[in-house]
């Protein structure tokens, strides 16, 4: 069963059609790759699914419920989380705060109800919900081996750790589906290896992973399913072997052989 699928999803910016009629699916518990040359519309597709942008036409379904055009915070609460190509942490906040924010708002509860009293109480001693949020956030930091940095300001972290922290923050919202936008960008081979292991561990937690990546070694290594976009259109979809041998894909990446 597909956890997420789109039907004829299209996003046009004026005359430029960034995503065109894309039917795309992510299977539950899979690690799925989304690849394509620069400007193929991969990030636009991410944005249109996560509610950061609204499709021109077409539909998005998550857990068989239509989520097209829903606000980003509602989609987040339904269970989709993401990271960004250019890391977007709350740089002024501490590492721990970044992760705690991911947990604070996952309930649909009104953000103000009964909070003042709670705040006063948590000011005196951390109890109840606040304590639970704190504990789980620490656990997520442990998961990514970032706990030692917890009181650092996020901006002071080394580059690779900032990428990991962004994933940790996304995981703290307890998603069923995690989008990673070029997680290996700028990483050295050792960091990339560690990242691959981390992505597998995330999947073991029961989370479905969809990733955009240019590092083909990573993609071919860990993805079970791959979808290829070129000029906004889906040109292929299948397992790594099929994709590797698909003439359309080879043409898109290497140009046509005469």
């Amino acid at each position: 069963m597909s956890l997420l699928y789109t039907t004829q999803l299209t996003r046009a910016f004026g005359g430029v059609i960034a995503v065109s009629d894309v039917d795309f699916a992510v299977e539950k518990h899979s690690i799925t790759g989304l690849i394509g040359p620069n400007g193929a519309g991969k990030t636009t597709l991410f944005n249109n699914i996560t509610g950061m942008d609204v499709p021109t036409s077409g539909k998005v379904f998550f857990k068989d419920e239509e989520i097209t055009g829903m606000p980003a915070h509602s989609i987040s609460r339904l269970g989709i989380a993401r990271t960004f190509q250019n890391i977007r942490l709350f740089k002024e906040m501490s590492v721990l705060e970044n992760v705690m924010i991911g947990r604070h708002f996952k309930t649909g509860k009104s953000m103000t109800s009964g909070r003042l009293l709670n705040a006063v109480r948590s000011y005196i001693s951390m109890k109840g919900e606040e304590k639970a949020i704190y504990d789980t956030s620490r656990e997520w930091l442990e998961f990514f081996n970032l706990d030692k940095f917890r009181n650092e300001s996020a901006r002071n972290l080394p580059y690779g750790s900032q990428r990991e922290l962004e994933i940790a923050r996304a995981m703290a919202t307890e998603p069923e589906l995690l989008f990673l936008d070029e997680p290996a960008a700028g990483m050295n081979p050792q960091e990339t290896d560690r990242l691959m292991a981390t992505i597998r561990r995330i999947r073991e937690q029961g989370v479905t992973v969809l990733l955009i990546e240019h590092d083909m070694k990573l993609v071919m290594n860990i993805c079970e399913q791959i979808t290829v976009l070129n000029y906004g259109k889906k040109i292929a979809s299948g397992n790594p072997l099929e994709i590797r041998e698909n003439p359309l894909v080879i043409e898109a990446y290497l140009g046509k052989e005469e």
């Binding site: 996560t50 509610g51 950061m52 606000p71 980003a72 915070h73 987040s76 609460r77 989380a81 993401r82 960004f84 977007r88 709350f90 740089k91 002024e92 906040m93 705060e97 705690m100 924010i101 991911g102 604070h104 708002f105 996952k106 953000m111 103000t112 909070r115 003042l116 709670n118 705040a119 948590s122 000011y123 923050r169 996304a170 919202t173």
Partner: protein, 306 residues
């Protein structure tokens, strides 16, 4: 300077004035922090707050003599006008700013100036341009501590503005909603992806800022009466205070407000700047800050994105 007690007198006067500037400046800075725009109708929200405080107070107090009961009536009137202003602030945002959120940066700014004219003209139309007196809810005879005189009104301003600033700071730093506000001001898109309802945060920001403005309006009105354009100069000065402290920074607005109050008072008292030129101090400071440290005392210099 004459003597130590003279210094304390000016310091006290400056602190009171600064407390009021700070209350107003917070509204500017909070909205700027989240929407990156200056709500030029903020001064008029203050004016509406002062009018509603005045009407409510006059309506409820009857023939009550000075005393605790009258003070309660005063605070109730203040509380209700805070709510009225909060609702007004949220409505203005929904009607005049929200539809322009994706427009050029100049559009909401112009819309704000329009709203400010509409509000002050409506006030003049319905309530007249004549200043109305807002009676003290207490006997405003000054107490003497040595040679320093302090009026109950000054005590009221100091207590109210100090309490509100501490409460706001705790709210922003310690509560879930405060965290949502900080996250939204840092990165709206990512905040939404964390499940934060950004529209709700923006509404709340306007509500809090407007309620603080109403409080400031009432505190000013006790000394300077209520009239349709009362918000203009107070608003401009507080805007200067927000810029001086570093616009977008809450603590900066508090410090900027108090600093400006002190500078104005000492400028007149010590440097001998004529009373009539008092207002030029604020704008002189603004120009100086913009030249020397454009990001303000606590503001961060924004790096251009490449």
């Amino acid at each position: 300077m004459g003597s130590i007690s003279e210094f304390f007198q000016h310091f006290l006067n400056g602190l009171t004035l600064g407390g009021i500037y700070a209350l107003i400046a917070l509204g500017y800075t909070m909205v700027y922090g989240i929407l990156k725009f200056i709500n030029f109708a903020h001064g008029e929200i203050l004016m509406i707050g002062a009018y509603s405080g005045l009407f409510l107070f006059d309506y409820f107090r009857g023939d009550l003599p000075y005393g605790p009961l009258l003070m309660i009536v005063f605070f109730v009137a203040m509380l209700i006008s805070m709510v009225i202003s909060a609702v007004l602030g949220m409505s203005i945002e929904k009607i005049a700013y929200k539809p322009l959120r994706k427009a050029t940066r100049l559009a909401p700014l112009l819309s704000a100036i329009g709203v400010s004219f509409i509000l002050s003209n409506l006030a003049a139309f319905f309530w007249g341009t004549k200043s109305r007196k807002f009676d003290y809810p207490f006997d405003n005879t000054a107490y003497k501590i040595g040679d320093v005189a302090i009026t109950p009104h000054q005590i009221l301003i100091l207590v109210v503005s100090f309490l509100m600033m501490v409460a706001l700071k705790l709210y922003i730093d310690r509560t879930r909603m405060g965290k949502a506000m900080r996250a939204t001001s840092l990165d709206q898109d990512v905040a939404a992806l964390m499940g934060i309802n950004v529209n709700q945060v923006i509404s709340l920001t306007f509500a809090i800022g407007s309620a603080l403005a109403a409080t400031a309006g009432i505190l000013i009105a006790l000394d300077f009466k209520v009239y349709p354009t009362m918000g203009a100069m107070a608003g401009l000065k507080a805007f200067v205070a927000a810029v001086v402290g570093g616009i977008g920074n809450i603590t900066g607005a508090m410090i900027g407000g108090i600093l400006l109050g002190l500078l104005e008072t000492f400028g007149v008292a010590v440097l001998g700047i004529p009373q009539g030129l008092k207002d030029t101090i604020a704008f002189g400071v603004l120009i100086l800050i913009l030249l020397v440290k454009p990001e303000g005392l606590l503001g961060k210099a924004e790096r251009e994105k490449v």
